[in-house]
Structure formats: C-alpha cells, structure tokens
Symmetry: C2
Subunit: 172 residues, 2 copies
Amino acid sequence: MMVSKQSHCPSPEDVHLLQVWRDLQTALCGLTDVLLADAGCDIGLTGTSFQALWFLYFTPGRSAPMSALARELRFSTAGVTKLTDRLADSGLIRRMPDANDRRVTLAQLTDDGEAAVTKAAIVLAQSVQTRIVDEIGLPHFEQIARTLSELSPVKQACPAAPPTDADAIRRS
Amino acid sequence: MMVSKQSHCPSPEDVHLLQVWRDLQTALCGLTDVLLADAGCDIGLTGTSFQALWFLYFTPGRSAPMSALARELRFSTAGVTKLTDRLADSGLIRRMPDANDRRVTLAQLTDDGEAAVTKAAIVLAQSVQTRIVDEIGLPHFEQIARTLSELSPVKQACPAAPPTDADAIRRS
DNA sequence: TAAGATTGACCATTCAATCTTT
DNA sequence: AAAGATTGAATGGTCAATCTTA
C-alpha cells in the first residue's frame, strides 16, 4: 500500500492555511513591537501596564476591583495581584478597600498614574495613526478589527487546559 | 486659562484609535487561544513548540541551526537553547553538530517529532478552516493577513530597548 | 459554601556573561 | 575580533493552596 502515509501528512491546502495564519500572527506581533517601542522610549510603560492603567482611566472613580482588571487583561487574579504590586511600587496606582464588600480590594489610579497613562496614550495613538491609519485608512482598519472580533468566540473550544512543554516531557 | 490640561489628555479620536487597536489585539488573542485549544486537546503541543517543529518540517534535512530557529520564532538564542532542551527531552528533536561550522548546533526533527507536528498541523489547519475560512472565506482571510503584513515593518522604530516594569520601579 | 485576593511553587522567556570556534 | 551556543540570574506570567469575608 503506497498510500498508507497519506492521511498522516498535511495537504498543500493545510500548509497554505497555516502559512496565512502564521503571517497574520507575525504581522500583528511585529506591529505591536513597533507601537510599544514608539511609546516605550518616551515613557517607559510595559504593554501590560499600559493596558491596566488605560482600563482604570475610564472607570468611575479611576478604580476597579482586581478581578475586573483580571477579566480585562485576560489574566489570572494571581497575575493581577503581582502586576498591581509592581504598579503600586512605582506609584502609578494604589490599593484601596471597597467599602461595600470587604473581600475586594480596588486598584486606583494615582495622579502620577494618570499622568503616565495619558501621556502614553497620546504617543501610542499617534503611532497607531501614522503607522496604520495613514497607511490603510481608518475604515479599513476598523473593518479588520471588526471582522476578527466577530471570529473570536466567547465560548470555550475545549474543556481541558492547554498543555505545557513540561506536560509533554512528563508523558514521555 | 481653562485649557491648560488640554494637551495632556488624549482626544476622543485618540481614544477611538486605541480602542480599535485593542479590539484587534484581543480578537487575535482569543482566536489563537481557541485554535491552540483545539489542537492542544488532541495533541499536547505548545504553540511555541508547534511553530518550532513546523519550521523544521520544511527545512532541508529537517534540521536548522539554533540561530535560524531564533529568528523564525522571534526569540533570543538563549530562549531557543532552552526550548530545544525541552523538545529534545521529550524526544521530538535531537541536537546535531554542523559539519561545516563547528560553532553551530543543528536542531533536527526526529521521527516522533515529525509524527507529532504533522498530526498537529492537520488538526490545526482544520480549526483554521472551520473557525476562520468557513466564516469569512479564504480570499478575505488572505487579504487581512497581507494587509497587516505590509504594515509590519522591518526596521526598528526605536534604538533603545523596551522598558520593563522593574525599570520603572528602579527609576522611582 | 463560595467568592475575592494573596502567597508559594513553577514555567517560559529575556539579558548579561561566558565559552568555543571562525 | 566576531559569531553561535550555552549558562545563570531576573522578569512576568500560571496554577494550586490558603485566608478572609459574604
């Protein structure tokens, strides 16, 4: 049987699909690097830190529970705890108790944090403008974002947790 | 002067640009999670590991220098060294000396590695097909990838290294 | 009991320093 | 020198367990 290996090899169509998918990922990754570099040089905020401060900037009272921050950033609550530690150490946010539920601690933007995030936002928006919008136009940019957003699902695809390399080693 | 704060606040246009940019990022992130979850359940390969094996799969001799792998993955060479350690421990690749330049060590796909990557590729391509191509069509998918690729620059935007949160803490 | 936050152990990456080979 | 690979320390995340409050 000379065809026994056939179903074990990806077809040319498979290869092409994965190539396009990878191109898309790589392109967005490169674009992210450049935008963050633009802002990073002037400001010194991590992408993650910026997203956190930017989220707080639009919340009432410039503050939100750790768990809300976790959802926004797609982080675990443990991750947010440690991010908050760093941001509090650098004086950009402070922790506050929630008067209505003493289990929650609020992360609140400080004046320094507000200054940092607004400055970063202006620089970052300028980069988005010149590097993306000036190139392809705002409608096209919006359209791409909308299309991909509609593809991005809310529900889980797979009940199990994604594997780590360590898992693979343990299995072998 | 009631306008003193004006230049320090992002304009509504700035806010919108950053919102669209964030939507785009979040969407691709969610999509990546789903695709990897599809493949991860059946196979047990990290996204990084898959990309490494997938790259080797198309190289002559199923092997490439560590430095080539680093460029492909946008990793430091140190990162590739340790990724290679893990993949070698799980038997998916092996290290080989390069006969022509004894400084380089080649990472070569093993038979197990080839089996793993082809199996993963088939599952992953199927996910791309059903979750993306079936929704928006192949041409549209290709067009988005092409557009973003053209935006992604080759040259560096900023000579300095991007900052870390630790940098910010040290500065304060 | 369950939900929110933290802690400690671990994992995957980076950078800086080192070693070998060119 | 300079380039390729590795090592060790540090960074920034996850998960599992714990503590407090609802």
